[in-house]
Homo-oligomer: 202 residues x 4
């Protein structure tokens, strides 16, 4: 991050472009949201027996709408692709190409994703990263010619973050059902977002 | 975090109670939101000359509405108070009482706060934690009999997180002004929250 | 951490006392190093078939000799004990007593332990924290009257960190066997430590 | 990190090659150890008036001898260089080229460096990253045609980690001077390293 007054920079980011690129690149690298949602279901069904695939997909989408997550996804996929093309300098090329045991930058990016929904997702991340269910098994297959050293961990992290998001939402729903008082900030936020939306050209 | 099906646990958390306790304890320990907002203004005014104190206070409130933040604030204040009362076991009592240089759990809790709005807040946290402007100077005064080993770092972290939140919001506002397309998730989210709010008894 | 010149503080930490307290409290709370070493063996035996229990115990001891780790262990055990005695203020007391799903400070402390040996330990931590093998099953038993909300995660984190340490050491051993050149810093460090040791009164 | 038995992988990492590449690339990108040591001196001289530049250089070297640090340095420099050559895909190219305010992967890598010596370095990192003294001012100059979006933060992080290492060492030295008992692990470790060194072909 630059620590410069933003006014000085003629460059202007388009958040929508970053969000779209994230989904596009996940797709190009062979990962669809449904598969990530299946990891979420795998992690959460025993806690919430009524959890639907629609909810899982929705929560994955919400995780992917966060800039911090998009940054990690795009950076990781770019490094995987450059390694696949043999374009990194020697020791780094070897480390990423071979998914080397002492190279942990993939885990570091994964953690920046999990962290967006807090520490309660750490365990779920480690669990799916070890077991490699579903899409993670395919991404981890070393015989395809493709390199997914980063994407493998990133997909597990998105699923873990979506699981944390569900835990927070389910608690909110339970409290509403119990007619408990609810956070005033939530309402303020909803009102603000709606106003923003109405101001917005379509 | 327990990894037990929540159904088994008769205990039911009331989020509102946790949120209220967070504000109450900050207040009891001598910190008001206005002072934290002043730290935010100190950190952000050079980037956003039109930033108002109202916006700063609002963003501090939003940071404090996050469960991950509330957990850190409550845990840190509790440890400060127990140290003040001399109720911790010996080596820990000494370390917290003396804000010992090699004891870094206060920074760890601070980081769990900053992280909620992503890595872009790390720099702002370190900067105010070193300079100790405003309320941080008072909290760091070792001659008051009060112990704020944790609160000191926590308040700086809340201000840094609020600064990150502002950076994200200002980017969104700029894009709306430029009539750029906006994230569909934001609208969906706003709609969902509003629906939730309407369902809610008052 | 205080940001004060240490000269001003009459308090002087005794590192040995902190290290001894860490082992003593682990023991008092019913955890012995052998059991943590068994978790390490569980995590590492498939990668290093010749790994011995002696090596596992040694690596656990090395992890526990780090100040950052000692700080987390002591802070976590203290919070568990205070919760057991009902001495925390209300919302925090309930959250720790019930190992509440949205309370993640235990994971945060655990991560500060894993991090000391880098990001490659994240996966191992999550894995044992989910499976709860051996000592972790006992610590996680909610019917004993004891509260191990923190210790549970801390023990898993120490085992994960020891596993990371082993991965680094095994790589070094392999390179020595292959007669590859070795890091000059390692030798310099060993020489320095020995000199320090000889200077030291006994 | 791959979670595969290492025996399966014919690839064998040479740690010395990774360490050498780290120093070589830092040098090629215009950063020498002396300049990083000056940042350390800037951060630490008020706490340790007798601190020498030799000690600062030595501690920087020790930080750079850690694999976790080398991984972050190499990955960050590689991304800077690819951005300089315009070889990243569109949204990422723009974000790194412009050191975009909401792109925080540079801070994430920086933090993986600081973390190796624990949380006490967070404050020092944020402080130098904001003030940009010495070499950081030059790296942060946007008018050179060079891109140091990552290196800028990485150099500050190495200096912060070296400062944390000094804090730990100075405490150990103070305890030896006071004839306090010293950690048995340190001696064991020194003995082990020396034995390893003697076994080692030269």
């Amino acid at each position: 991050m630059a620590d410069e007054p933003i006014a000085k920079i003629p460059y202007s980011l388009n958040s929508k472009a970053v969000a779209d690129a994230t989904k596009m690149w996940l797709n190009k690298r062979g990962v669809n949201l449904q598969e990530i949602a299946e990891l979420v279901m795998f992690l959460q069904k025993k806690y919430y027996p009524n959890l639907t695939m629609e909810e899982c997909v929705h929560n994955v989408e919400m995780v992917l709408s966060k800039r911090e997550v998009q940054n990690a996804v795009l950076t990781g996929i770019q490094l995987d692709m450059l390694a696949e093309e043999g374009k990194l300098f020697p020791p780094l090329q070897d480390m990423i190409e071979n998914d080397e045991g002492l190279y942990g930058v993939d885990e570091i990016l994964a953690f920046s994703i999990v962290n967006v929904y807090g520490s309660i997702g750490f365990t779920n991340y480690g669990y799916v990263d070890k077991l490699k269910p579903g899409v993670l098994e395919r991404l981890n297959d070393k015989n395809t010619g493709q390199i997914h050293t980063f994407l493998d961990d990133i997909v597990g992290a998105v699923a873990a973050a979506a699981s944390s998001r569900i835990a927070h939402r389910k608690q909110a729903e339970r409290e509403i059902d119990l007619e408990l008082p609810h956070s005033p900030e939530d309402r303020e936020e909803a009102a603000r977002k709606l106003a923003e939306h109405e101001k917005q050209p379509e």
